[in-house]
């Protein structure tokens, strides 16, 4: 057994860390969300005006819904990419380690570099447009490729697919191989085995992956800033501008707090669902 002094000595650093870098900022954020701005300065006057504004100004819910739509699209697309990839790697690949590495390597490349790469690909004189014009598919550069929600979804899918892939792959790696053999033994061809055994047993992983993809892209602010254009603005961009140029910290804090609650509610639901889906 460890002494009490030892236990407190060990738990002190993480507690300090959490208090200083997590709890205190959140507490400040919550306080700010109940204050207001008057004549370019923050007034410490407690009120619910900021939260009321969230509902009264149609712009905020609209951007929030767009952000959720984009995040949902990214989630679905990255799962659709992850499942076949994870299945192939886990069950049929002879070069597992190499392919696994190829999926992971992009994570080591700066986010900015990857986002800019898409800018180069999708721009009006970018790689894709040049290619399509050269091939004669289009005469004028397609403008919708860059600076659109589409571009944001594409970029975020590219960036967050490894996050969705990893838990799906881990779940598949944990499926006992004799279950797959048992299914085949009972007459199930590979496709049927996938849908009746592998798919249901990798759902907890898929749920974790979906949560990563959704939460990370919901709060993303660089991709919409770089390639979203006016139509691809997401909730984080609004928050950033409120804390910056607009100098309305209280309203920005209120939106942040709401977003935080939304994500926490989502995580809570996911955890309950995950318990239902796991069978050990």
């Amino acid at each position: 057994m460890y002494s009490r002094a030892y236990k407190s000595a060990v738990s002190l650093p993480p507690l300090v860390w959490v208090a200083v870098f997590l709890l205190a900022p959140y507490a400040f954020l919550f306080c700010y969300s109940f204050w207001s701005v008057s004549q370019q300065s923050i007034v410490h006057h407690w009120n619910l005006g900021n939260y009321r504004q969230l509902f009264e100004n149609a712009m905020y819910p609209a951007v929030l819904f767009r952000s959720m739509r984009i995040a949902a699209s990214v989630t679905i697309l990255s799962l659709m990419l992850s499942f076949p990839l994870a299945y192939y790697l886990s069950f049929h690949s002879r070069r597992k380690e190499l392919l696994y590495l190829l999926v992971i390597v992009p994570l080591w490349v700066s986010y900015l570099v990857r986002a800019y790469a898409w800018k180069t690909i999708l721009g009006s004189d970018g790689v894709l447009n040049t290619l399509l014009q050269y091939a004669g598919v289009i005469r004028h550069p397609a403008e919708f490729l860059l600076y659109s929600p589409f571009a944001v979804v594409l970029t975020l899918t590219h960036i967050y697919t490894p996050f969705a892939f990893l838990p799906v792959y881990a779940a598949m790696e944990h499926i006992p191989r004799n279950l797959v053999e048992a299914a085949q033994d009972l007459g199930a061809a590979p496709v049927r085995t996938f849908w009746t055994v592998i798919f249901p047993l990798s759902l907890p992983g898929a749920l974790a992956g979906a949560t990563f993809a959704f939460v990370l892209s919901l709060g993303d602010f660089l991709a919409p800033l770089l390639i979203g254009g006016p139509g691809g603005i997401m909730i984080s961009n609004v928050i950033v501008s409120l804390f910056g140029a607009a100098y309305n910290w209280p309203l920005g804090a209120a939106i942040s707090a709401s977003l935080l609650l939304l994500v926490l509610a989502l995580l809570f639901l996911v955890e309950r669902l995950e318990k239902k889906l796991s069978f050990s």
Binding site: A182, L186, A189
Partner: protein, 363 residues
């Protein structure tokens, strides 16, 4: 003779074998990398037979089973089932079902759905599925557990469900991969008896893989002993015990004394032991079961045809109804002797055995 039922079963099995075996394994070979796991294995299984593949770990017994199930492809040889080539079919096209070593029940499906899986895959009518699943569960005495999840069952219960899940498909052949190895000793003995009577009841051929020679003896119509990828001997339990062909078989199945010596001028000679023997002259090995040696305690008349010797008691192990003695003859041979339990023995005693019980075995 007590053996009548057993030998009758065996003889009908060997008769059907000669005519048309259910499964015909023909010089199968299998390598993993540079290791030859199976070499030139040929084996036939009769309709309704319970055959045990017995062997130590690494002998290739599980690989042989996996080749029959279709999870591995042979590198040489063929497997036929009812005259049709089996080894080229994928596992899901074979009318063979497997009971896996660790049961391999689907954790996300209820007991009922686990058993129904094969029927659903084969698109059996809904109404028929529920009757057949119920029958299968009743067969393994698990009818009231249909709604449970596999994780709520004990090892023995999971074992029964795995059995029901395989049998419900009415396979022509059931493969069992050490199905009892995860159970504790008592449950294991009980399941052995149940398995055997179940097999009689359903009339399906079973191939049962085990490393436990007692289990093999208790269950099987025939035992196929595998040694490092080759078949050592295939025979009924009684035959393989009473007439082991090799020294390995003799010592793997039950306990034995291996007497190494020579045959010369019609006499076998192993150390100081000598008895008449008409076999071909040369160096030989005999297997002499510990229970074939008697203690001469002066109560019975001395049998002058028996081979007699005097030996010192080195060790005596109490085993309930029988005692196991470790004795050493004056020329240094150590022999095991099994006698009916009695008080402690010490010093030197006289022993004897009938020459007919010294079985000539190959090395």
């Amino acid at each position: 003779m007590i053996s009548s039922a057993q030998s009758a079963g065996a003889s009908t099995a060997s008769e059907t074998l000669a005519r048309d075996p259910l499964l015909d394994i023909h010089s199968i070979a299998k390598r993993f990398g540079s290791t030859a796991v199976l070499r030139n294995v040929s084996l036939q299984v009769a309709q309704g037979e319970l055959l045990t593949i017995l062997g130590e770990s690494g002998s290739g017994k599980t690989t042989l089973l996996r080749l029959i199930a279709g999870f591995e492809q042979p590198d040489g040889g063929e497997i036929f089932m009812e005259g049709q080539r089996l080894d080229r079919l994928p596992p899901y096209c074979r009318r063979v079902n497997t009971v896996f070593q660790h049961y391999a029940l689907f954790p996300h499906l209820s007991v009922f759905e686990n058993v129904a899986y094969g029927l659903r895959v084969r698109k059996v009518a809904r109404s028929e599925i529920s009757t057949r699943v119920e029958q299968a569960l009743a067969l393994v005495k698990m009818a009231e557990y249909a709604r449970r999840a596999p994780s709520q069952l004990s090892g023995g219960q999971q074992q029964r469900i795995a059995l029901a899940r395989a049998l419900v498909n009415q396979p022509k052949l059931l493969l069992l991969d050490e199905p009892l190895s995860a159970l504790d000793a008592n449950l294991r003995r009980q399941m052995q008896i149940e398995l055997k009577s179940l097999q009689r009841e359903v009339g399906i051929s079973f191939i049962f893989v085990t490393h436990d020679q007692e289990e093999a003896m208790a269950l099987s119509d025939r035992v196929a002993l595998l040694r490092s990828g080759e078949l050592e001997q295939v025979a009924t339990p009684r035959d393989i015990y009473n007439h082991p062909a090799t020294a390995y078989t003799a010592s793997f199945i039950g306990q034995t004394n291996l007497l190494r010596g020579r045959i010369e001028n019609g006499m076998a000679q192993c150390g100081s032991l000598r008895w008449p023997c008409t076999e071909r002259a040369g160096p030989t090995t005999f297997s002499l079961r510990p229970e074939s040696i008697r203690l001469c305690d002066g109560t019975a008349a001395i049998d002058h045809d028996a081979v007699q010797f005097r030996a010192a008691i080195r060790n005596q192990t109490f085993g309930g109804p029988v005692d196991l003695l470790e004795v050493e003859s004056p020329d240094g041979h150590v022999l095991f002797v099994r006698i009916a339990s009695r008080g402690n023995l010490a010093g030197e005693c006289d022993f004897e055995f009938d020459a007919i019980h010294a079985i000539l075995v190959r090395e």
